[in-house]
């Protein structure tokens, strides 16, 4: 069953994140104002943030379960994380960024996969550029390629278009949709821009740490945090 199941709680000083949702969509949007907990949710799925309570499961595999004491390290979650500033490795060129997570990255097979991936995001010819020599849109594509080359089970995109000029935002949105159709990956998309919703099969609306609205979300309804015990 291809699905993402999230039910987590995390207390911060003056702010509590308390969300639960289930999604089957290819692209799922978490939308809401900044500081409403969307990014923290994505970080929890990536394994970069540890919730106080709750459970995260991807396709039935438990990634995190506070009650069972399960916390799969990010290395073994096989999710691709693309943060808002893209976090490209500044000391590596484009092809080394893309091949960063591949085992035996110098092997012929790995190098072929890297160059195919770079070509498929439309960056052919820029293999040896440093990240700071690229435009914002190009940086985003490197970050996408770096995650996708490992064929992750899910892509986590934190405000992928926020750092870009409004003029190219639409074009890149379309590109992401095309890429998704071509490669068939799933994505969890964090955004504050309603225009991004055209990409999403499902959406959950965040408001100060909670989900106010969304298909499939049982906002406020109580459900056992840990299932199958």
């Amino acid at each position: 069953m291809r699905m993402l199941d999230v039910a987590i709680t995390k207390r911060y000083p003056g702010f509590t994140l308390d969300v639960r949702f289930t999604t089957h969509a290819a692209i799922t949007a978490l939308i809401g104002p900044s500081g409403s907990g969307k990014s923290q949710t994505v970080r929890a799925v990536a394994g970069a943030m540890r919730p106080d309570r709750g459970r995260i499961a991807l396709d039935g595999d438990v990634l995190f379960d506070a009650e069972l004491g399960v916390d799969i390290p990010p290395q073994d979650r096989h999710v691709g994380y693309v943060p808002q500033n893209y976090a490209l490795f500044p000391h590596l060129d484009v092809s080394r960024n893309v091949g960063f997570g591949l085992r035996r990255a110098r092997s012929r097979e790995a190098r072929e996969r890297v160059s195919q991936m770079i070509a498929s995001v439309g960056l052919g010819g820029l293999e040896h550029r440093a990240p700071r020599q690229l435009s914002g849109g190009q940086q985003q594509r490197v970050a996408l390629a770096r995650a996708l080359v490992l064929q992750p089970r899910m892509l986590l995109l934190d405000e992928p278009f926020a750092a870009l000029d409004a003029q190219i935002r639409g074009a890149l949105r379309q590109e992401l949709a095309d890429l998704q159709a071509r490669l068939g990956f799933r994505a969890l998309l964090v955004t504050h821009d309603p225009e991004d919703l055209v990409l999403a099969g499902e959406r959950f609306v965040y408001e100060s740490g909670q989900i106010m609205e969304g298909n499939g979300a049982s906002a406020g309804a109580s459900r056992p945090a840990a299932q199958g015990t």
Partner: protein, 287 residues
């Protein structure tokens, strides 16, 4: 005609004010230059004096071959390299921990680690004696099993480490803290272990500052005098490093003292200049 007079008066006044301002500005510039000149002179004179006294004697090559000089050179090289290695080995994990985790009492730990940087070397020497000397806190139990630290080459390394390693830790800590943690998170999600992430992401990005800290640490160790002479003594071939040899030779063998001083000056200068160029350039690269 008469109505021109006020305008002309105003014009003269403006011109005078402008001239006065001009003069003041020139005087200000002169003061700046004079201040800078005095400062530079005070720093440069002793350096020049060493060279001026050492070179004309013409005995540089022979003096260089004297045992007191050779022994000091060898010992300084050996001990400072050991100190640097230990500083890197133990200081790197410490700097990383301090840059990544917040904990209770951190300010205290920070201050403690940086204390040797401001502590008078004589106090460092006393402290080391009280800790590792023959009657010291740790030294006494060690002595009872036949291990004596005081007045050995190991004591020199310990003194240098105490005084110099904080320079590396402080620099490394700032270097690690300036590495965007999101880069490490991304590396983890790409399946790269914490250990490999440290070496493939954190260290390369922090490298210029790590190198800078290492060089400062080494240079400080090379110049260590006060703590060494108190804790390790001044035994040729065993604990008499270059600064100690300079002090020892000052009255008996001024030529040797001058030669060693020239070497230390040249080495210090040779280390500083490329470092400044390299660190400056690498720092800009990722900015």
């Amino acid at each position: 005609m008469p109505d021109l007079a006020p305008g002309r008066r105003a014009w003269i006044a403006v011109t005078e004010r402008r001239a006065a301002r001009h003069t003041r500005r020139r005087m200000g510039t002169a003061l700046l230059v004079a201040g800078a000149f005095v400062f530079t002179l005070v720093i440069a004179l002793p350096v020049l004096a060493i060279v001026a006294r050492a070179v004309p004697t013409g005995s540089l090559p022979q003096t260089l071959g004297r045992p007191i000089v050779l022994e000091a050179l060898r010992l300084s090289f050996l001990t400072t390299m050991l100190t640097l290695a230990l500083a890197l080995l133990f200081g790197t994990p410490l700097a990383y921990l301090l840059s990544r985790y917040r904990f209770r009492g951190q300010a205290l730990v920070d201050s403690l680690i940086e204390l040797p940087m401001v502590l008078p070397p004589a106090v460092a020497g006393i402290g080391l004696l009280m800790a590792f000397g023959r009657r010291g806190l740790v030294g006494e139990p060690l002595a009872s099993v036949g291990i004596a630290v005081g007045f050995t080459t190991a004591a020199v390394v310990l003194a240098q480490f105490f005084v110099a390693a904080p320079f590396y830790v402080r620099s490394a800590r700032v270097a690690f803290a300036s590495v965007d943690r999101e880069l490490e998170v991304v590396s983890h999600t790409l399946g790269v272990s914490d250990w490999a992430t440290f070496w493939r992401v954190t260290v390369p990005i922090a490298f210029p500052s790590l190198l800078g800290g290492a060089v400062m640490c080494w240079a400080r160790a090379l110049g260590e005098f006060g703590a060494t002479i108190m804790f390790a003594g001044s035994f040729p071939g065993r604990t008499q490093t270059m600064p100690l040899a300079i002090y020892a030779a000052l009255e008996s063998d001024l030529d040797a003292a001058l030669v060693l001083s020239v070497i230390l000056t040249v080495v210090s200068f040779a280390v500083l200049v490329p470092l400044r160029l390299f660190v400056g350039r690498a720092g800009r690269a990722y900015a």
